[in-house]
Amino acid sequence: MAVGNVGVATVARRSLRVRVRELIDREKILGPVFVTPALLLLVLLVAYPFAMALYFSVSNAFIGRPSHFIGVQNFVNLWQSDAFRQTFQNAFVFTGSAVAIKLVLGISLALLLNQQLWFKRAIRGAVLLPWVIPTALSTLGWWWMFSSLYSVVNWTGIAVGIMDPPGPNWLGQKYYAMTAVVAVNVWRGLPFFAITILAGLVSIPRELYEAAEADGAGPVGRFWYVTLPMLKPVLAIVVLFSTIFTFSDFNIVYVLTHGGPINSTHLFATLARQIGLETGRIAEGAAISLYLFPLLVFVVYAQLKFVRKEVY
């Protein structure tokens, strides 16, 4: 009798195990089980704040006070603000110049890293350092280097005779200040370009270069007719990501210049913080941060379409 009971229990346990295994084997069930945690995180950390920002931007919300819907009034009013118009211009100058410089230097660095070098791995690792160090921390170092009192940049420039004392007022004069924030952005973003382009470079089949060489192509010809066309999809993705990251940059400007002098380095994120959080006008702050959203959506759409066309 006892033996019979044990046998029944074992069969029941086995069948349960088999049923669970069968259930797990079904893609229709397993797929959603795996996706749900990530989806929940996306909803909580991305979709919800985004929806809140959308609501704030069309309301008259002020920190800690009741608000109501006012339509696109905030977006219209922003154009009357000199600081916002200046920020709009800054964002394009900053992003355009930083992405262009990172692209040119990124390709050059990737080509260099693709050569047979001594300590290749160590050098590739070192190149990534600016990207790995927390931005706020590394930018503090740059702030020290550009500081009017202790600028090592000016000290070196004066010592080697390429600057007249006291040297450029890096963070106090608008063109120099923009140059400084672009330089730090390039310094930080260059590894992303270089390493991603390098990954694209190593995937180009050697046969194409050999064929080009057999046809009499020199280094420039090989770069122009083999490397560049084969890199196009990678470049498009890198430029797309970098454009979005650079437009929404915050740390570098916040630490280096705080948006000054006279708002000449403010970006959307820094101005949105200043107005939305420091003065309590959260609705206006949300409108500033969302101003370029339609344009960025279009850029993403156009670039992804281009990439698909190139790949398939």
Binding site: I63, G64, A83, N263, G276, E278, E284
Partner: protein, 423 residues
Amino acid sequence: MEPISRRRFLTTTAGLAGILAAGVPPARGQQREISYLAWNNFAPASDKKLAEIGQRFTKDTGIKIRIDHIAHAQQAAKYASEVQSQAGHDLVEMRMHFPWLYEPQLVDVSDLVADLEKKYGKVISAGYETAHVKGVWRAVPQYHLFFLATYREDLFKKAGLPVPDTWEDLYKVGKELKKMGHPVGIPISQNYDSISTAGPVLWSLGGMEIDKDGKTVRINSPQTVEMVEWYKKMFRDCMEPEVLSWNDASNNESITAGKAGWIHNPISAYLLARNKKMVTADGINHHRSLAGPQGRHDTDVPRHMGIWKFSKNIEASKEWIRYLLGKKEVYDEYIVSGDAFNLPVYTNLQDHPVLKTDPKFAAVKPEGVQLHAYGWPAPPSDKVQQITNLFVLPNMIAKAVTGTPTKEAIAWAENEMKRMLAG
């Protein structure tokens, strides 16, 4: 690992579920605890003393206290996020007009202020104007600090320069200082110190940003033109372009590092040099605020303690305020630890013993000086705080000193201020 019996598992989970459902911790876990967020005081010894007093408060009352600190430039954003999420610290330290900005979110603390005023006399004017919002005390005045002149007395003596008494005098000695390689250091950038100097210069000429009614923008005036012209000649003849990039600490760094010969600041620069035994410490001294045709005015920075309405520990937070500010011996101890940087904000305590602890604090007395918060004579409001936080005044001056015609720069500021007031 010890196996958990079914009974124990059920008891524990049922208990936890009960606590979560009721939202009330069991009696054993109901020890009162409060959290207080204050700025990183420019007189760091004061923060150490605050922590020490906090420990004694816990010992005496059984209320645990956690004191956190934050850089002053981050305060507004941090408070905004606490208010928006209705979570964070129980009470916070507030600078100047902050009680106006967060008025609907702050507990009425009129009872606490009434007790303190009975004991120490009325709150000084800047404290009253900034924490007494629409007839209700929204924060308890804690202490204040004010701006005055910090200068290199040794350099002045060496060059035979007179100590300036007016802003015009400063221009005269400033030219000599710049020639000596020790320029005047007044920031003209997007920071608070820039506003703290621009305000007094404008007030001493009889100008203002906004009228007493709090609605009419008065920045476009002959007095502002005069003020901007003064800044232009100061920038050209007495200062270096670096002041356009300065933050709130830069003028302190410049004089303690031995560069600047004169700065407009509270006494924190001297305290830093003295406490760190820097070579410049002996040469630094203070003199009273400068005058203009319309008198001697300077910037007052009152600081207060406010309790958020969302706090679940309002009574315990009030007890902390009573302990820190209401016990005379504790308040004195706290003020003394601030080395005359933090001064009492109640009238009967103005001649405080802390002023006699160092001969270089002799000038730290606002005798004959009218002290005001930003935006004076406009009554404090969230709008004034917004104009402050957007740095309209320093940006107007920065535009003018870097080439924008004076009238154009002033018209720009007028437009920005009108937009702020209308919004």
